[in-house]
């Protein structure tokens, strides 16, 4: 099942539980205490940013025409199939930072003490096992929700001209009574 992480900005309390859950999920020990002690320190792909009076959790948009993947000289930044998230194959990454330079959303980063790029992988392993991404599962207010692509596309034409998942989403009505476009 592939899907998209939907953000409702007005519901974010800036509690950073998404960030902590991401940090723990991407650690070796998968526990908070263990993750804090790990070397190199695990890294969270989701970040809560201030935007005026609101706080907004930001992570990778998983662009359909991903510039990071296009810029990658080794194919380390790639997606396994259409609709799947863009992930980094660590074995192939040489740390040239081309993806860091070109991402318009500042998502891929070179972390200190690591020899490869880090970015949100939309918890691809969890999702394969039928779970939600860690940030979504941890969100107490429903600010973050994981919406299967199929459910979002129901009753709609195929998104032929869509250049990104965002534009796909913009064309689909909000099933929970949000804004319709």
């Amino acid at each position: 099942m592939s899907g998209v992480i939907k953000v409702r900005a007005e519901r974010c309390l800036a509690c950073n539980r998404c960030r902590l859950a991401c940090f723990v999920e991407h650690s070796l020990s998968k526990t908070l205490i263990g993750a804090i002690a790990e070397e190199p320190r695990p890294w969270a792909g989701v970040q809560v940013r201030r935007a005026g009076v609101l706080a907004v959790p930001t992570s990778c948009r998983q662009c359909e025409a991903a510039v990071c993947a296009a810029a990658c000289p080794t194919g380390a930044m790639h997606r396994d199939a259409a609709g799947e998230p863009v992930v980094v194959e660590k074995r192939l990454c040489v740390g040239c930072a081309a993806c860091v330079m070109v991402c318009p959303y500042g998502v891929p980063r070179m972390a200190a003490g690591m020899a490869h790029i880090l970015k949100c992988d939309q918890c691809v392993e969890r999702v394969r096992q039928g779970e939600e991404p860690a940030c979504v599962a941890a969100c107490p207010t429903g600010c973050l929700t994981f919406v299967p692509l199929e459910a979002r596309c129901e009753g709609r034409d195929a998104p032929s001209g869509a250049s990104s998942i965002l534009s796909l989403m913009a064309r689909i009505e909000d099933t929970r009574g949000g804004r319709c476009e």
Binding site: A9, R49, R50, V67, A70, P73, A97, P104, M110, R179
Partner: protein, 263 residues
């Protein structure tokens, strides 16, 4: 590496059956299978080179007389149907130990190498002449990545014998180096010594400096000018993106979500 004509092959590694593409790197197949083989100069993004010699394994081929075997580096040995691999026999460990002693003597200033040698029970009192203060073990991974992946061809081996070194030719500041830092990221021993300070990106090993472009909003580092130009060509990014640092791009992204109400 795949050219569509490669066939699947089955090898036996430490008694386990392993399937891999015939002609691909033996070390890559072993690592993929979770078999621990030490290696320093190996990287999947570039062609195997066999510089560090740590990935030694013992190879037997179906049809060879009993007792016949060959000791070889696994990174640049091709997977062939019917290979039998032993990664930790007494013979392998003995030779690997000597290799590690030599590497430790060559680059005793690298914490990675010191730790690795300690793990193999080798202390600092090696019988080989130690090159004090040296952290580079001359594996050339930096030069291979610079040429094969980045395409800058800025660093190479130069000099001969005991005077052999890796660096920019002659050695002088390179005109083709873009300052991307891939050499520093892949270096297994931490010998390149890249630092961003005072608006310059300095490479201690290459004795070179690059002017850094800073974010027009916050003043944090974006990258070197040549690195940004290189990325622009590869990723079709626009000037607006390349003039701001990743942190500011993310803040701007958050503001867009806030203004839209959802994403």
């Amino acid at each position: 590496m795949s050219d569509g004509t490669r066939k699947p092959a089955t090898i036996v590694a430490d008694g386990r059956e392993v399937r891999a593409e015939a002609g691909s790197s033996l070390l890559s197949a072993l690592i993929r299978e979770g078999i621990q083989v030490p290696a320093l100069c190996h990287h999947e993004a570039v062609r195997p080179y066999g510089a560090c010699r740590l990935c030694l394994v013992e190879v037997r081929q179906r049809g060879w007389k009993p007792g016949w075997s060959r000791l070889t580096t696994s990174c640049d040995f091709p997977v062939m149907d019917g290979l039998e691999i032993s990664t930790a026999t007494e013979k392998v460990l003995r030779h690997r130990r000597v290799v590690m002693e030599l590497i430790l003597a060559r680059a005793p200033a690298s914490p990675v190498i010191v730790r690795m040698a300690e793990g193999m029970g080798i202390d600092a009192s090696t019988r080989f002449r130690r090159q004090e203060g040296e952290a580079c073990m001359l594996c050339g991974l930096c030069a291979r990545v610079c040429s094969e992946v980045v395409g800058a061809h800025a660093i190479t081996f130069w000099g001969r014998g005991g005077g052999k070194d890796v660096g920019t030719p002659f050695p002088a500041e390179s005109g083709t180096c873009i300052g991307c830092g891939a050499c520093d990221a892949v270096c297994p021993t931490g010998a390149v010594g890249m630092r961003d300070e005072g608006g310059r990106r300095c490479f201690a090993k290459w004795r070179s400096e690059h002017a850094l472009v800073v974010c027009r909003t916050c003043g944090r580092v974006v990258g070197t000018r040549k690195q940004i130009e290189w990325a622009r060509e590869r990723g079709r990014a626009d000037d607006d993106v390349l003039a701001t640092c990743p942190d500011c791009r993310r803040d701007r992204y958050a503001k867009v979500i806030a203004a839209e109400g959802h994403m």
